[in-house]
Every structure is written in C-alpha cells, then in structure tokens.
C-alpha cells in the first residue's frame, strides 16, 4: 500500500502527503461517525440492553428463585448471572450479537458511502488528494472502530450493571473449573475483542452494498435484510452443507473462550471466516468504488 503513485506528479513527497491525508481522512471519518446523533442513539440503546437484562434478572430472582426455572432456557449464561455479575457481560453479548449489534453495524456501514453520495458530499471527499482506495480504507477502519466501541459499550455497561446488582468473584467456567476474577476479566476482554472481530464480516458486506447505491437508506436496509436472511438460513438443518460458510454461523463461538481448556476450533474458524468475508467483499467494494462514476 505504500508504493509511490506517480499520478502526474512523482517523488516521495506526494506519497507522504497522501499518507498524511489518509491518516487525517481516517481521523475525520471517525469523528464524523461518532458525532452523528444516530450513532450516539444506537450506542445508547446498546448500553440499555444489559441494564434491562440485569434488572429483569434481579427482579425475577429477588425472592431467591433461580433464573428461568433453572432448566437452562433463555439466553446463554443467564442462569449464572445471579452468582457472578461478570456473566451479565456474556449474556448481554450473547443476546445482542445475533441481531442488535450487527444491525447497528449495518446502519453505519451501509450509510458510509451511499449516505455521502445521497447527501452529495462524496465528491467533495474525493477532491482531497488521498485517493478512493484510501477513502474506502478510512471508511472501513472507522466502521471497524465503531464495532469495537459498540461491543465495548455493551460489555462495559453490562459489567457496571453486573457489579452493581450482583456479586463479583471467582468465575466458574462452563467446563466447571474455577478461575480467579482477574483471569475471568481477562477472558471477558478477549471475548469482547472476538465479538468485535466477529462483526468485521458484516462491515465489509455493508461497505460493499454501500458502494452499489446512492441511497443511504437502501444500503442500510439491504445490509440488515441480508443479515436477517442469512440468520434465518442458518436455522434450517436442511442447509447444513452451506451453513459453515455463512458469516454468523460461528458467532456464538466466543463462548468457547470460557471452556477449560479453551476450545479453539470454532473460534479460529470464525475468525478465518470473517477474514474471508473481509477479503472477498472488501475487494469487491474496492473494485466497485474505484471504477465507479461518481456523479452526485
């Protein structure tokens, strides 16, 4: 990526200038994303989910009963929440990961190019001598940054609520072994990272969809629609042959970090699958965006 590009000009100075432009482009993209009211509203709703779950569990178990009648129904890990507030983080991530988190990502990613095109600001962005590839990279990185922030918001909110309402302490992993709270916290951080990375596939997909249209709302709707379709396809046992290649298939594998020893098979498969989606749809977005006529 650092190859000099003598486009009319030559020498190292323009290349350095471009890199600088790329960096400031990324900075400005991130600020644009996080200054939008809709981004803040999305983050606010995401932060509210653990609060709701925590309060609901607290009320249900207020009389000493167990969660969900103790039969293992409901979202993953919910039966352990009362004993250890840390599990609220896992429950919240497990319940927001299937739809809520990716929907938020779909909104941001779908809007990134098409929204600018729809508002007529894309051509001004392209005036900056950074090039389309860099602009696309900046958009991608800014959306990935949103992935991380969104995941961290859910995790942090859940941790705060969990610490307030429930006891914290040594963590019993799902394999039955007990680890210290610090180890548990470390695993929580790792899990948040894995969840954020799990969403990179849909970032690339959303970005590609976003380069196809000039309507921001169409791109968002398509991305979220694709997500829901794929989630439904992932439910049918008849389609088990293709399911390992659907991007949400291994999303819940983050729970494997709570096994002892950690069960890496599905985790690695998940990360590999996300990398594949990023490579395929990222390059498709690049092919489309760099050859597209920008008229608006």
């Amino acid at each position: 990526m650092s190859r000099a590009e003598p486009a009319g000009m030559s020498g190292a100075a323009p290349a350095a200038a471009r890199r600088l432009w790329g960096l400031s482009l990324f900075r400005s993209e991130v600020t644009t994303v996080f200054r939008r009211w809709r981004t803040l509203a999305l983050l606010g709703v995401l932060a509210a989910v653990p609060v709701l779950v925590g309060i609901a569990v607290k009320i249900e178990t207020g009389d000493g009963g167990s969660v969900g009648h103790g039969d293992g129904s409901g979202p993953a890990f919910i039966s352990q929440v009362t004993n250890n507030g840390l599990f609220l983080v896992f429950t919240s991530l497990a319940s927001t990961l299937p739809f809520f988190l990716p929907m938020a990502i779909g909104v941001i990613a779908g809007d990134s190019i098409a929204g600018e095109a729809g508002a007529g600001t894309l051509r001004y962005l392209l005036v900056a001598p950074a090039g389309r590839t860099r602009l696309l990279l900046a958009k991608f990185t800014a959306t990935v940054a949103f992935c991380c922030v969104a995941t961290l918001v859910v995790a942090a909110s859940a941790l705060a609520v969990g610490a307030l309402l429930f006891p914290l302490g040594e963590v019993t992993l799902i394999s039955g072994t007990t680890v210290s709270f610090t180890d548990g916290l470390l695993r929580t951080l790792l899990i948040a990272g894995v969840v954020a990375l799990s969403l990179t596939g849909i970032v690339a997909l959303g970005l590609f969809v976003s380069t196809l249209t000039n309507s921001g709302i169409a791109a968002m709707a398509t991305t979220v629609g694709l997500l829901i379709t794929v989630q439904i396809l992932d439910q049918f046992p008849q389609l088990s042959a293709i399911q390992p290649y659907l991007f949400p298939h291994y999303w819940l594998s983050f729970a494997d970090l709570l096994r002892d020893p950690v069960y890496w098979d599905q985790l690695l498969r998940n990360l590999g699958l996300q990398a594949l989606y990023v490579a395929v749809f990222g390059s498709a977005a690049w092919a489309r965006f760099t050859t597209k006529d920008i008229t608006v």
Partner: protein, 432 residues
C-alpha cells in the same frame, strides 16, 4: 494499487472506454479470485485429509487385538467427534424421547443427570472432550452451543455439571476392586484378569464363530498412524455390515470406531478422535467445586451410575471397540429379558404386557382414553411408525431403524435385535 484514480467528471468523458472496461474487469476479478482461492483451499484441504494412508508394517488381526489389549495408556486427552444416525424417525417436539422435557431432557429443573445427556448423543453430531489420568481421574465434557455438560471424576467424587442450567450432581464413585484396578466396562467377567495375549486369543475365539476379523490397511486418525481392524458378522440375518476400529499403531489405543449398516449408506455410529494427546492432563482439569448458587443434588447409590456412565462415555471408543469385538449379546439384557441366538444375531425377548401390545396394534385404543389427547396422538404416531407383520405367532408391528429392529406382537411380546425383520418373525414363531 492503481496508478490513477478515476476523477469525477474527467474519467467518463475521456473517451477511453475500452481501457476503462478492462480495468473494471481486472478489478472485479480480485474478489472473484479471492473467493475461488478460498473455495479451492477448502476443497484441497478436505481432499488431503482423506488421503495419505500411512505405511506401516503388516500385522495380523490377532496381533493387533493383542496390541489393543496390551495397551497400558493411562493418560490421554483429546476431542472426540461422534456422529450417530440410527435412522430414528424425527419425532414432533413434545413427543420426543424425553417428552415433557421440551429441550435436551432437562426436565423441570432436575439435576444434571447423565442419562438424559446420553440420549442426546443418540442422534446428530456432537463433540466430546475427554481427559483421562489413571483409573481415578477422568473427565468427559459434551461441548454444546455456548454451554457444556461435564462429568468429572476425581478420586471418589463424581460430579456432573450442566452449565446451561447451572446445576450439579454429586455422587460417590463406585467401589473399585481390591487390586485397585479399574474394571473395564464391557469386559466379560470370565475374561477379566487374563493376560493380554490370552485376552486377545479369547476375543478372536469368541468372535471366531460369528465374526470375520481382518486388518484392512491403515489410516491416519487425529494425526496418528493407525491400523484398521474390521469385524464383519458372518450371520446373514445381521443388519450390521461391518465394524471398523482404527487402532493406534504405536500404543494400541483405539482411535476411531465406525459401525456401518448392511443396507449401506452413512455409518450408523462414527466416533473418532479429532485431536489426541497422550501427555498428562493438568491436575486442575479434574478439580471441581460447584459454583456459588448452583443447584447441587446429592446422588445416592442409585446415582452412583453417574460415574460409570461418564467413564463409559469417555472410554467409549475404546470400550465399545472391545464390546463390539465380542459381539456381546447382553447389551439390552435386563433380568427379565431372554436372549436367543448368538453373536450378532442375538435377539432379546421380553414382555411388555398386553396393554402395550394392544396400544400398538390399535385394537385397544380405549386404554389410551385416560391419557387424554397426548396418548391418542402417540397412538396415531405409532401407527405411522410401525409396519404390520403376521406369522405363526399372530400379528404385530415391526419398528425399524437403520440397525436395530423391534417386533412387538399384539399379545405384548417384544423382540429386539440388530437383525432383519424376517429373523425377528422367525424368533417370534419359535417362541410361540
């Protein structure tokens, strides 16, 4: 990286449409190429996995069985993938094997009982993680989606922990023999204590009448070289096509067990290590303290089974290998059951009572009236499942799966075996 980025306004108007089209095609080829390379890698990967049988010195079936018996591997850990396809009809929810449980047999908040988990293994693909350190420390975990079910034995304590419901079951391990040696589940009493070579000889003898034992090449299982021992039933009425056991060439531990039906198609049971390590598992693998707030049930003597079941599941591949080799007829043999036939063609016979027979035949549907709607639905379901047969014994219904067939006569006798329907009818006629 492109040399020139298209600039709005100029690019479309510069008249070099052909060049632009070519560049577009080249760029779109990138994602296609990436997807193609990924697909090819996946394809080659699975093709490579199935080839490359290792070159091993030839060995006779008897020597291989001696090797299995002599195996003194005490420490191991690994992952086992079990795929079962018994050909059981998929029942509508609510009428499943654990009716009322709804999901996974977790009935109304009862403790993590191993029995219900074992029935879960009877269909589909599951991953088990196994760790063994000598006769006193074993651990088996059933890896589920965002949950895990573990049976842990550490000395005299046996714990079963279900993370989904946060429930635990505690019981004492069954007493071991005075010599401190673990009883190998599935090893017949008269063979216990025999020397490995003797044991192998006896296995071959026991199998001799009913089974053809051959060594069929080699295979790689979980990255280890293995011999393939094939057991083929001699009796024509058996529904079992062949049992293949892959035995580690170095230490004689069975690594893979496959049971193929005579009717062909997918294996009925396919259990294989996907990862195996013969090092000593960490000591904390076997320590378990029930988490705060977990519902703990103390198991009595009756529940002492838990440990045995867990152990059995853990050593499943190894033990079922031996059990299979012996063609043990006593699998379903409770006190009340009578076993006829021998080896693979054994048929268990027991009495289910007249009413049950009536329900099955549909003659006595009124018996179900009390049970209400559910019973009626169950009766209809049975109608759909069984096919009617008749013979000298009268008439009845045959329920078949891919390997096990069962005949239930109208007067309430049940004949079960891994044999063809005709053999069941013959047995019923003979019992008349």
């Amino acid at each position: 990286m492109a040399r020139i980025q298209p600039t709005p306004g100029t690019d479309a108007a510069d008249g070099r449409g052909a060049a632009k089209g070519r560049r577009k095609a080249v760029r779109y080829a990138v994602p296609v190429a990436v997807a193609g390379v990924a697909a090819a890698t996946i394809g080659i990967g699975s093709a490579l996995a199935s080839t490359g049988d290792p070159d091993l010195p030839k060995i006779s079936a008897q020597d291989l069985i001696a090797k299995m018996a002599a195996s003194d591997t005490q420490q191991m850990s690994g992952s086992v993938k079990i795929t079962t396809d018994l050909g059981l009809p998929s029942l509508p929810s609510g009428l499943g094997l654990e009716s009322g449980g709804g999901h996974g047999g977790k009935k109304g908040g009862t403790a993590a009982s191993p029995e219900s988990k074992l029935t879960e293994l009877a269909s589909g693909t599951h991953t088990l993680r196994v760790a063994v350190d000598g006769p006193d420390k074993q651990r088996v975990s059933l890896v589920e989606r965002a949950a895990e079910y573990s049976v842990i034995r550490n000395g005299d304590d046996v714990w079963a922990y279900d993370s989904a419901g946060n429930t635990a079951l505690h019981s004492k391990a069954p007493q071991r023999g005075p010599d401190g040696k673990r009883e190998a589940a599935g090893t017949p009493k008269d063979l216990r204590g025999a020397s490995p070579q003797e044991l192998a000889k006896k296995v071959v003898e026991a199998a001799g009448g009913t089974t053809t034992l051959t060594v069929d090449g080699t295979a790689k299982v979980a990255g280890r070289d293995a011999y393939q021992l094939v057991l083929t039933p001699k009796q024509g009425e058996s529904t079992v096509g062949a049992v293949r056991i892959a035995v580690d060439a170095k230490n004689g531990v069975p690594l893979k067990f496959t049971l193929a039906p005579k009717s062909g198609g997918k294996a009925v049971v396919d259990a294989a290590f996907t990862k195996v390590d013969f090092g000593k598992p960490g000591a904390d693998t076997f320590s378990f303290t029930p988490p705060k707030g977990a519902k703990v049930t103390e198991g009595g003597d009756k529940d002492g089974k838990a440990g045995k079941d867990g152990k059995h599941a853990g050593r499943g591949d190894q033990q079922s290998g031996l059990t299979g080799a012996l063609g043990l007829p006593g699998a379903g043999g409770d006190g009340a059951a009578k076993v006829t036939g021998e080896g693979w063609a054994s048929i268990a016979q027991f009495t289910a009572g007249k009413e049950a027979g009536g329900i099955v035949s549909g003659k006595d549907r009124s018996a179900l009236k009390d049970a209400g709607k559910n019973g009626d639905a169950a009766g209809k379901l049975l109608d759909g499942l069984g096919s009617k047969v008749s013979g000298d014994f009268g008439s009845g219904r045959v329920f078949s799966t891919r390997v096990i067939n069962a005949l239930m006569t109208d007067d309430g006798k049940v004949f079960v075996g891994a044999v063809s329907k005709d053999a069941l009818v013959k047995a019923a006629n003979a019992a008349k």
